[in-house]
């Protein structure tokens, strides 16, 4: 019986939503192959995770690799862990979240295992003898359908596209500790200059409030932070505002920033350039506030208000506050 290995990711001591999506999708693939799902949890010694609960998302078994060396992400150590899990399970399919961790880890594992890898898929299934995947190309201007071949096949899944479904609510998975590999690396992680840890990353957010050049200054983004805070969302930025230094690069959405698929995406004082669109067109609902009735975003957003962000946003924020009670 073949195994589908689902690699999850820990963030702030918990399993990231993108990791749960991978487990649930691995279940779908396993149901088609008649195989079983092994989920892999890689972490430092201190986490708030009950691995057995991954059973609810479809894991039959959870392998836990826990060690002080794995607290912070290290490409080589993590690679060695995934390779150990691959060897133990003899998995024929390995799935990763296409988060920044997954995008760094997956190609290293694939090359070491001499396996084919399809990055950043938006659909995945099993057809006859291999994975069939949809993969956006040219910043989403076209989508390719791919068929993979090989004894071991790997894919990374775009966060927010697949459902983290409770396929087997209440069911627990068997939990086993993975025998840790011998860690070795030529690369030392000297330090991590932590950023504001309470800030939500745009890739994890279900609601994103993005501002563009129309926000006029770094201070103008206070309005967006307030709205994002009320909605439990994250602030995003266009490249124009990152380039002038109003916002940090990790908030940039677009072709050369992050690709996101939240349920709700606000575009405030942003024109909707083709490069920005490439990063957020997968959002379920797009709202634009722009004072120029001819701005390209107004043709494509689901709902638009033509108006000045500095007039509209305070009122919008108040209304949301009322709604959230």
């Amino acid at each position: 019986m073949s195994t589908i290995l689902a690699v999850t990711e820990i963030k702030d001591k918990n399993i990231r939503k993108a990791g749960l999506e991978v487990v649930a999708q691995a279940r779908q693939v396993a149901d088609a192959t008649g195989g079983q799902v092994s989920a892999l949890v890689i972490s430092g010694p201190e986490v708030d995770v009950n691995p057995a609960q991954l059973g609810a998302y479809g894991a039959d078994e959870v392998l836990v690799a826990s060690d002080a060396k794995l607290t912070a992400y290290h490409s080589d150590y993590y690679k060695q862990v995934v390779l150990a899990a691959l060897q133990k399970t003899a998995a024929s399919v390995v799935l990763f979240p296409a988060t920044s961790l997954g995008k760094d880890l997956a190609p290293r594992v694939a090359a070491a295992a001499k396996a084919v890898l399809v990055s950043d898929c938006t659909a995945l299934s099993w057809k006859e003898d291999g994975l069939a995947a949809d993969k956006p190309l040219y910043a989403g201007k076209v989508v390719a359908q791919l068929k993979l071949q090989g004894d071991v096949q790997m894919a990374s899944l775009r966060p927010g596209v697949f459902n983290a479904q409770l396929l087997r609510a209440g069911q627990n998975a068997a939990v086993a500790n993975l025998d840790l590999p011998a860690f070795s690396s030529k690369v030392t992680l000297k330090e991590i200059r932590k950023k504001d840890s309470c800030k939500m990353d745009v890739s994890d957010a279900d609601i994103i409030v993005t501002g563009g050049r129309g926000m006029r200054s770094a201070e103008g983004f206070a309005l967006l932070e307030e709205l994002a805070g009320l909605l439990n969302g994250a602030v995003g930025a266009t490249r124009a505002v990152v380039d002038v230094g109003w916002r940090p690069h990790d908030e940039q959405v677009g072709q050369t920033g992050k690709v996101v698929s939240p349920s709700l995406y606000f575009m405030c004082g942003a024109s909707g350039s083709i490069q920005h669109w490439a990063g957020m067109s997968g959002s379920k609902c797009i709202v634009a506030i722009n004072k120029d009735a001819n701005a390209p975003i107004l043709q494509r957003a689901d709902y638009s208000i033509v108006g000045d962000v500095f007039e509209v946003l305070p009122v919008l924020t108040e209304e949301v506050r009322k709604l959230r009670g």
Binding site: P107, A110, A111, V116, D120, V143, L148, L189, I274, E319
Partner: protein, 250 residues
């Protein structure tokens, strides 16, 4: 120091992209091709390192079809020492196939540093750098925004999800470049003149394309968008209502 820079020729970000007749690859007619933007950071970093060290050699290599010579020509205009086209008409989405071709051709020479982009904007794979490093069994510093060399010691910064990571290793190494690393320069008139005389070396290679086969190519359905809710702050209550009752997102 011997530096290898790997570049890919890709459609300009503004280009209109349509599937070709067989729906397996794109229609290239009228598409403007450029050097992958992230590879420009790699080229710039190589030039700066060479200038800082007052010597060394920069070789630029691409795997691609005949038209990719134009990208090599543009690189040559910046003042690199050697350019090579590894010629193939197979455009594979399998990063390992590209990494294999590159490892076989570069493994024969010894490079101190291999600089490349973090991602090609056409396939968005983010595969070739770490894969090549794995095949060559050398370290890969991936998605780098700052690079410092002192002797054979390399220090680099990358923006991880929890903050800026400072990584250290020694040469030889693969470094993949992210925006923020530097500001790429434009070619000088002298550079353009010199590039006209430069010989573009060429070698035919076989890229395996059968591990990841494209079975179809589609234009995603356009959003049926475009509802102007109203003008100014007065439209807010209606917007809230739509988001709550119709879209059910708040």
């Amino acid at each position: 120091m011997n530096i290898l820079v790997l570049i890919k020729q890709v459609p300009d970000t503004e280009a209109t992209i349509k599937p070709g007749a067989e729906q397996k690859s794109i229609a290239e007619a009228g598409v403007k091709f450029v050097i992958n933007p992230y590879d420009e950071y790699a080229l710039e970093e190589a030039l700066r390192l060479k200038e800082a060290q007052g010597g060394g050699k920069i070789k630029v290599v691409t795997v691609g079809p005949e038209r990719a010579k134009q990208a090599l020509r543009s690189a040559a205009e910046l003042g690199v020492d050697e350019v090579l086209l590894l010629k193939t008409d197979t455009a594979s989405l399998d990063g390992l196939a590209i990494a294999q071709v590159l490892s076989e051709s570069v493994a024969k020479e010894s490079f101190d540093l291999i600089l490349m982009g973090k991602e090609a904007i056409d396939d968005g794979n983010m595969q070739v750098g770490p894969m090549l490093a794995e095949l060559l069994d050398i370290p890969c510093l991936n998605v780098i925004t700052k690079l410092t060399l002192s002797g054979r010691q390399v220090t680099a910064e990358r923006e991880g999800d929890s903050g800026v990571e400072v990584l250290e290793t020694s040469l030889p190494a693969v470094v993949t470049c992210q925006k923020g690393l530097n500001e790429p320069r434009y070619p000088s008139i002298r550079g353009k003149m010199a590039a006209m005389k430069m010989v573009i070396a060429e070698q035919t290679v076989t890229v395996s394309g059968d591990r990841a086969v494209v079975t179809g190519l589609q234009v995603p359905s356009a959003r049926s968008g475009g509802k102007i809710v109203g003008e100014g702050a007065a439209a807010v209550p209606e917007l809230i209502k739509l988001l709550h009752d119709e879209a059910k997102v708040i």
